[in-house]
Symmetry: C2
Subunit: 418 residues, 2 copies
């Protein structure tokens, strides 16, 4: 097989004819396959069922059933502190969704500011968004009317030349990052990129980076990526207050009923607690205790993640296998094979992604809404597709990946033959 | 015994001497008694331990462990809808703390408005606060810089003449209400008051009432108070969008790990879901299912509340007994004996409440911070004391109530003898 761009129109039409035959066979199967969201599969959820077998809800004299302990029970704070390599005092345990911690922090900056003046009193403000990125980050920014500026991702992380230039604008107030196994590309920021982020000198004194470390322990291979702990570096540049780190057990225990955590400097913890004190009496401490008892310690979490990896690896493999077999040498698509996280990011020929989504849908395969990996759901190249292989069983994925590959090839041929 | 105001200075000094003797005996006991917060006692928490014995987390094909169902699982929505006498479509199940639902709704109005213009873009705005009231409501308003205006409580609810007059000011944007067994007085709004509230014609089109029905099923006697369902009346006045009702199981199952719910008109539900969609993927559905399985239906909740009443009634009784015995005929204090809720509100002679708090503290009894029942922690009469009898065991309450009564008498004598 050769690159599509070098093929004659006639060759392409023959190829199209063969592919359509396959495509129609798939279509006739009346499938309903879902690769749209980063949802753990049932087998993964079952790994944590024992979490609920706890019967004693008292710890260190604290009755977790009752009110109190705004920032979480000490043992749960310690669990996250150990896991993330920070001090317990810099941890706040949050609700079941880390998204809520991020929304609430942006909301806090909007109404009360991260410095002297609330963001809502500063006219138009902007955030940097490495792209492709996580749609729910963009949704938060859009909700608050914060203008989003795309920054290209490289294989090392965000294009730091661009970031360093953009932060000279004092209306640029922050950036959303998924520094490990980025959503959707699975790229882990290099040490140099983390260091350059920590060293930023933004014109805005109230510049904040949301460091969404959603996949901090989510390796799918033994030699997973290593991410530099940004809190070990920030001090050197007097930037401790610049970063708010977020993580959760959504993809460790239960997506709907896990525990989230926020990690921040002493100053930021104090200002967040001030809001929290008006917002709640405490998050669910019984659930915090369940997690502590289930894992024992940070090593317990890491051991548990090996079980997830054993389930996820074959799912990633089957998708990558088909991408390699069907798309590798055609010059119409590229992807990174990630060592962890929840996604495979596929870039197809410009102007073809939406059409791929349509073809997949017609054949019964749901992808993440094409475009959603960009702010305002607008992918300027119409090229990025996010594949979420975690939820379907392997046999379904096997089919879904084939349908995806055929759809990519068909969409590109349509584009080339015009 | 006679009214203190009719006694001579000499008689008062004799009385003081006797009381001081008792007071010092209490003090010498080195007690540490807490009547500060409306926390259920251990015996109450134990009533719900079986909540955690659920082992199957699938319902109607929905795996509650996973992502999804933004507004809650259908069966939990139905449970609350039945309990509160509304349609399921008008219910959103929230997080473990109803306080968060209230904070978030005010936050939503502040950043996005309840009409055309966000509250944060309208200059100074105001809220009406029936007093005495719940300190955490005031904390939310203070956090957002919303000016609080005191409205006196009557035995029927807020002084509606005052409310009707105040809402003619278009900068008055709302009111916080605890309509059943109000915090702290235990007053249930009369049908006439509920009707007049439903019929309000505020100058502000974006006027919102937070109807914090925290004690909706929290009777401690068999013939508990009946509260008119405001959603049955609002339509008559074309005011459906004016009220946001809130409730929770904090004082039904676990204060730290219950389930909250918000009840609102179709319009309000839609606008709240728009924010929610940016703020979370779902609240803790496993916990919702635990509650559904534990109670079965609304009647199950009511049956369960009888068990709470059996524990709480003797606690209220012992406090009321001492108030009656020691304070009834001295003309220095008044209170309402509530049929439910979590508090007894004690009004002492003007200018004496803070001193009562000091005396209690010195003798080892912690009351709710005196003044906290008023906005800005400022009780203009320095007269209101909130008693929370739920947490301590009866024998401790017995002592604490005696110390409180002696402290009230001493503080008033100090004031009278000058």
């Amino acid at each position: 097989m050769s690159e599509y761009k070098t093929m004659t129109k006639e060759e392409l039409l023959t190829e199209q004819e063969q592919l359509l035959k396959r495509y129609n066979e798939y279509k006739a199967m009346g499938l309903k396959l879902d690769m749209s969201r980063g949802k753990p599969g049932k087998e993964q959820l079952d790994l944590s069922n024992d979490l609920n077998k706890i019967s004693d809800y008292i710890e260190d004299g604290v009755d977790t059933r009752n009110y109190g302990l705004l920032d979480g029970i000490p043992s749960c704070k310690k669990l996250f502190a150990d896991l993330m390599g920070v001090d317990t005092k810099n941890v706040i345990i949050g609700p079941n969704a880390s998204l809520t911690l991020m929304f609430d922090y942006i909301s806090q900056c909007y109404t009360h500011g991260a410095g002297d003046t609330p963001w809502c009193k500063q006219g138009e403000i902007k955030f940097l968004c490495p792209v492709p990125g996580y749609d729910r980050h963009f949704t938060i920014l859009e909700y608050f009317g914060i203008k989003m500026i795309n920054v290209a991702m490289t294989e090392q992380g965000p294009d730091m030349d661009a970031v360093e230039e953009l932060v000279k604008d004092s209306t640029v107030k922050g950036m959303f990052c998924v520094p490990k196994y980025s959503n959707p590309q699975g790229i882990t920021y290099s040490n140099e990129v983390v260091e350059r982020i920590a060293a930023l000198k933004p014109a805005a004194k109230d510049f904040r980076i949301i460091w969404d470390n959603a996949y901090c322990v989510h390796d799918i291979v033994d030699d997973g990526d290593e991410l530099l702990n940004i809190f070990d570096v920030l001090g050197k540049y007097d930037n401790d207050d610049m970063v708010i780190e977020i993580c959760s057990t959504s993809k460790i225990t239960f997506p709907g009923a896990g525990v989230s955590a926020l990690i921040a400097s002493d100053n930021n913890i104090a200002s967040i607690k001030k809001r929290l004190n008006a917002q709640t009496i405490s998050y669910d401490k019984m659930n915090q205790l369940r997690h502590v008892r289930f894992f024992g310690d940070a090593q317990g979490v890491l051991n548990h993640m090996k079980k997830h990896a054993a389930i996820l690896k074959p799912k990633f493999d089957i998708v990558v296998k088909h991408l390699n077999e069907e798309l590798a040498d055609k010059g119409i698509a590229s992807w990174v094979e990630p060592k962890g996280g929840y996604f495979i990011s596929l870039d197809v020929m410009n102007g073809c992604a939406k059409r791929v989504g349509e073809l997949c849908k017609e054949a019964g395969v749901t992808l993440t809404s094409v475009g959603a990996t960009y702010p305002y759901s607008y992918d300027p190249n119409d090229s990025n597709i996010r594949i979420a292989p975690s939820f379907p069983p392997v046999d379904e994925l096997d089919l879904a990946a084939q349908i995806l590959c055929v759809s990519v090839r068909l969409a590109c041929i349509e584009k080339l033959v015009g």
